[in-house]
């Protein structure tokens, strides 16, 4: 089984808790025989490609250096995410079973890849723009929220770590309760959640 993980932070680049979490989760996936590729941002702390004990990490940077906001930086970065993902998809003989995308940043890339390659998307929501911006309704925050909404609508599955965030997503983005799974906080239950999802995908294919 093969998984692609998109996250805008991964060690040594740590912005919040996500980096450490992705690190532990990917190790757990590899340990259990799941072929795991991580695509993340390259901030020149490391090289652009790394392979350690079965885990492949591709780091990409933005060809456009001048930006007017974090939003334009993220939106242009997405094309490089696609390029890196397409390189992995075309190079490998085995099909990628799942793209697991963390928060809104790389939703645009994930959705294009889903349409082009028919790969299911698991959208793992760690936090929401409403939390980060104190429910701001400025156009800038609304734009990010519209990407979160699109991700919720077009992804195949949503995973969260608490009932509270599940509730918030259902209220903000009109998502059906059935689509969201609460994986909980600890690593083993998150791993189990992904593993179960992969098994379901496999069974459905047969």
């Amino acid at each position: 089984m093969q998984v692609l993980i998109f996250s805008w932070e991964y060690p040594p680049r740590k912005i919040g808790q996500l980096a450490e979490y992705i690190d532990s989760l990917s190790k757990e996936l590899v340990k259990n025989g799941i072929n795991t590729n991580i695509i993340t941002y390259h901030d020149f702390l490391t090289g652009t490609f790394e392979e350690k004990s079965g885990l492949k990490i591709v780091r990409i940077s933005n060809p456009v250096r001048s930006h007017i906001s974090f939003l334009t930086w993220i939106l242009t970065l997405n094309q490089e995410i696609e390029r890196a993902a397409a390189n992995i998809i075309y190079q490998q003989k085995k099909k990628i079973e799942l793209i697991n995308v963390y928060d809104w940043h790389f939703i645009p890339a994930a959705l294009t890849l889903k349409n082009a390659f028919e790969i299911p998307i698991l959208y793992s929501i760690e936090s929401l723009e409403d939390y980060r911006s104190q429910k701001s309704s400025q156009p800038y925050n609304m734009a990010i929220k519209s990407i979160e909404r699109l991700g919720c609508y077009e992804s195949d599955r949503i995973s969260v770590k608490s009932e509270a965030i599940k509730e918030a997503i259902m209220n903000s983005y009109d998502v059906s309760e059935k689509k969201i799974e609460v994986f909980g906080l600890d690593l083993s239950s998150n791993f189990k959640g992904i593993k179960n999802l992969l098994n379901t995908i496999k069974r459905r294919k047969k």
Binding site: V64, T72, N78, E82, A86, A143, I147
Partner: protein, 402 residues
């Protein structure tokens, strides 16, 4: 290599959505490519009451919902629109019977969609650069302008070939992005020649009478009333022209200089001779161009100069400033008159010459009309474009992506 060829065009405007020159360009190019046997899918922004999918003259047009994301500014809107366009285009490319062979983007407005699709489908990307940010702004002054410029640079880097519509733009784009010469291709913009049937004479007289007195010759300017279009030079040349010929100046278009120009014209006591008509519908404009005794294009900066071509296509003699794309369109004394840019004396000389010398006027008018049919014919342009697609696909077939 297979004979059958399928192209996906990306454009932020396509009729009925018309913002600038890209919309008619993509429309005529696509239509004429279909006529020579190429399958064309255009993916573009939506427009009120236009269907999300339709076939126009054999061209498959797909319109993408492009205003669903709130945007803090225009550039962010462009990138968000590209996100939606790319996602839908991937869906279309996956579903169409014939696999897409080439992606063709028009300007930076569809840069990120084109780049993403190229990598996801591993097919060559071509771009037509209609204009550049550094040219439009005469330099890069703000963070937004730098960001757009770098997006354009990225797009030209990712493209297999970069098409420009004039030799002037080839050298400008090559300079702006440091591109190798063999990456750049010149294919002119096209224009549709207007029929010159005599039965329209009566309508023409009617139109003429709306704008000018019977004994006045018509001097026509069409363009935005902005500094780089040089309308102020025409206003300054007007008294010198009026010393020799009785004529009416008709200025079509709007822009930030309108009020200022109006005041100047009044202070010169020329408000009975210089008419600001504002925006005119296309049908009416075509008729007016046919009536014009001379069309003037006094631009200071002009990447291509479609307005001169349109005047020539309607059979109006042209006087243009010798700059940018205009220098290439007009052969002096043969298909029009070239005058010194930003020089009212020179412009007055050119206009007077055309208005006073009937034989000369007829000669340049006929030559220009002939040249339009030969060089700026959409069918020929489509054939040239097809050649580029084929040579790119030939190179591609030897790459590891094929």
């Amino acid at each position: 290599m297979k004979e059958d060829l399928t192209v996906m065009m990306l454009s932020w405007e396509f009729p009925p959505r018309v913002i600038g020159g890209i919309s008619p360009h993509v429309f005529f190019l696509s239509k004429n490519l279909v006529e020579i046997g190429i399958n064309v899918h255009v993916v573009t922004c939506d427009f009120p009451e236009a269907p999300s999918h339709e076939v126009i003259d054999g061209v498959n047009v797909h319109r993408v919902d492009s205003y669903k994301n709130p945007s803090p500014d225009f550039a962010s809107w462009v990138y968000l629109m590209n996100m939606n366009m790319q996602k839908e285009a991937a869906n279309i490319a996956k579903k169409v019977n014939k696999k897409i062979d080439v992606f063709h983007s028009h300007d930076w407005l569809v840069a990120t969609a084109g780049i993403g699709l190229k990598h996801v489908f591993r097919k060559p990307l071509l771009v037509t650069m209609h204009s550049t940010e550094i040219g439009r702004r005469d330099g890069l002054h703000t963070q937004t302008e730098k960001m757009i410029h770098e997006t354009e640079a990225w797009l030209t880097y990712e493209a297999w070939k970069v098409i420009c519509c004039s030799d002037y733009m080839v050298s400008h784009v090559g300079w702006a992005f440091g591109l190798p010469k063999d990456k750049l291709v010149m294919i002119p913009n096209g224009v549709k020649p207007q029929d010159n049937n005599k039965s329209a004479k009566k309508i023409q007289t009617n139109i003429r009478n709306k704008f000018a007195l019977p004994d006045e010759k018509i001097v026509l300017f069409v363009g935005r009333l902005v500094y780089e279009k040089g309308v102020q030079i025409l206003v300054n040349a007007a008294p010198k022209i009026l010393e020799k010929v009785n004529c009416k100046f008709i200025i079509v278009g709007n822009g930030y200089m309108k009020e200022q120009l109006n005041d100047i014209v009044k202070s010169m006591n020329l408000d009975k001779k210089i008419l600001f008509s504002g925006f005119i519908e296309e049908d009416m404009l075509l008729k007016l161009q046919k009536c014009a005794d001379v069309s003037v294009v006094p631009s200071l900066f002009e990447p291509f100069g479609i307005v001169a071509l349109e005047a020539m296509a309607s059979g109006s003699p042209v006087v243009v400033s010798d700059t940018g794309g205009l220098s290439e369109i007009v052969d002096h004394d043969f298909t029009g008159v070239k005058v010194y840019p930003n020089n009212p004396e020179s412009l007055a000389w050119g206009v007077t010459k055309v208005l006073l010398d009937n034989d000369y006027r007829e000669k340049i008018r006929k030559n220009a009309y002939k040249k339009i049919r030969e060089k700026y014919d959409w069918k020929k342009i489509a054939l040239q474009t097809k050649q580029i697609y084929k040579s790119v696909l030939g190179e591609y077939s030897k790459s590891f992506w094929a």
